[in-house]
Amino acid sequence: MQVEQISIFLENKPGTLQQATRVLKDANINIRTLSVAETADFGILRLIVNDVEKANKVLKDSGFQVSKTPVVAVEVPDRPGGLHSVMEAVSKEGINVEYLYAFVEKSGENAVILFRFDNPEKAIDILTKNNFTVVPGKKLYEF
């Protein structure tokens, strides 16, 4: 049920992000959503793409440090309290969120939130039990 995220190590210097996006463009890879985590020296670009394997390969071939990280995608109605309801469910069970990011579906009715949980299996279990829609990777890549 988890979604594969592409994580790319980027040095904090001009041009590195641009190099990564060029590689993806040239390989005709579409980015569904992304987020960047940064420190003073480096950043990690996190991407959900339409073709995980291909993205992984072309980035590696171009000399980037890349890894595939499992994350959990949850669909919530795009209205106040959407994210909160998920947080309430997982925090009650003592699950921590390392990071999250989100995007709104094309229909505009729902948002998809991507979570990196410290215990993803347990999180999926709890979310399913609480009738949340956990979106499988396959569906997400093809959105």
């Binding site: 985590a37 480096f42 890349v66």
Partner: protein, 432 residues
């Protein structure tokens, strides 16, 4: 002024005779007590009795840092451990440090030598000495301390670090002498400026600086900032510690090597050939009086030049210029010696890390700043891919560098294959 006028002004003929006598004694002693020397002399087919003149010294094999680490920790000791009263250590070429023992007599000799240095700088029992060399395994702190007590001066054993507190003590305790690394002195001067302290109103009159190379300009800056005479001290733990050589008051022109205790040679670092005195080369030292670990023909790695012209201070001992260069890849970071190989050993020990790195040394204000760039390995990134994990690795590297080497680098993770292209393991941007 002299601490030991007889020996410091011994006519050169007599000095040479004394050196030969002491050399022959030490050769006999190490040949029969230290397995390493017996083996190395036998291999070179030399008997101690073959050394009939000082000129014969060049027949003996050198001792290098590698020999020190091959015989780690006590393999080169010439006395039983029960006779050792002190152990100091310095960086080795690998993860191992080199260990130096001192007998009670060695501590006495060493204190006497440092006392000579202090007296050469015009210091007396009426002086208060602010000793900001680090106390500990490094020989700087305790070396100066014992020498200062030897001449009955008052010592403030402040050790290194904590500049604000140092300045308060310099102002309030009224020391007349300061001892530290030149870069630390400059750092104190800058700190004083930001604290709006008037260093000229302090009682300091002399500074003794060493443990790292410094330029003429740095000396002038220090002298001007503190209103003192700044003098140079030289030493290395392998030979004894600070007190191997000291600049006299006669015109900032070289440091006298105390030749009644050490023989100095200059060699071509590539060929090992002994060079005529006065030619630039690597300094090689032979300890004549050290009991615990007398090193014969130790290659210091310091590149310098000997000054043979008689000195008007009256000392007959030969002088050396400041050692501003090294024959090896040793780096001196704020007085701490490190080798790239040690950094490599630390990186290898951190699981998943590949030792693809580069050391960048620069000045941050007056002090040295070390940056360690390390490539992010596949292993580490594929295991985590998270900022937190990468930061943990950075912190681990910083901590291990502090714990093992005593330097605190700024660690910067960089992308794969970025350093290989750059080539050099070390980039030194400092201008000395």
């Amino acid at each position: 002024m002299f601490y030991n006028e007889e020996f410091e002004t011994l006519p050169r003929e007599a000095l040479k005779a004394l050196q030969l006598k002491r050399l022959q004694q030490v050769l006999q002693r190490v040949y029969h007590t230290v397995g390493f020397y017996k083996k190395s002399f036998d291999r070179a087919q030399i008997k101690p009795s073959d050394i009939k003149s000082l000129g014969d010294l060049k027949k003996l094999p050198f001792i290098t840092r590698k020999d020190m680490s091959d015989n780690y920790p006590y393999g080169l000791f010439a006395v039983p451990m029960s006779n050792i009263v002190r152990l100091h250590a310095s960086s080795g070429t690998t993860g191992r440090s080199a260990v130096f023992g001192y007998t009670k007599h060695d501590v006495e000799t060493w204190s006497d030598l440092v006392a000579r240095c202090l007296v050469a700088a015009g210091i007396t029992k009426n002086d208060i000495i602010h000793n900001a060399f680090s106390y500990g395994l490094f020989t700087g702190g305790l070396g100066l301390h014992y020498g200062a007590e030897k001449i009955d001066a008052s010592v403030i054993p402040i050790s290194g670090g904590n500049a604000k507190r140092q300045l308060m003590i310099l102002r309030d305790f009224g020391p007349t002498v300061i001892c530290c690394t030149p870069s630390y002195a400059l750092h104190l001067a800058q700190e004083a400026k930001t604290m709006r302290l008037d260093l000229q109103s302090f009682k300091l009159r002399v500074g003794i600086f060493g443990a790292e190379p410094w330029s003429k300009t740095t000396r002038e800056e220090i002298e001007k900032a503190f209103g003192i005479t700044a003098l140079d001290i030289y030493g290395l733990s392998e030979v004894i510690g600070p007190g191997v050589a000291m600049e006299c008051m006669a015109g900032h022109n070289g440091m006298h090597i105390f030749e009644d205790h050490f023989i100095v040679e200059t060699i071509n670092p590539q060929t090992g050939e002994v060079l005529p005195e006065g030619q630039e080369g690597e300094l090689v030292f032979t300890s004549l009086s050290r009991e615990a670990i007398p090193l014969l023909r130790y290659r210091s790695g310091d590149i310098s030049r000997l000054i043979t012209e008689p000195c008007r201070c009256g000392r007959t001992h030969i002088k050396m210029e400041r050692a501003l260069k090294r024959s090896d890849d040793m780096l001196i970071i704020s007085g701490v010696n490190i080798f790239p190989a040690q950094v490599e050993a630390i990186l290898v020990d951190i699981e998943g890390l590949e030792p693809r790195y580069q050391l960048i040394v620069d000045k941050a204000g007056a002090l040295d700043a070390l940056e360690l760039q390390v490539e992010v390995s596949d292993k580490i990134f594929s295991d985590s891919g998270s900022v937190k994990e990468l930061q943990k690795i950075e912190q681990r590297i910083v901590k291990d560098m502090q714990d093992y080497l005593g330097v605190e680098p700024r660690v910067k993770l960089v992308g794969p294959n970025t350093l290989q292209k750059a080539g050099d393991k070390v980039i030194d941007k400092r201008h000395i």
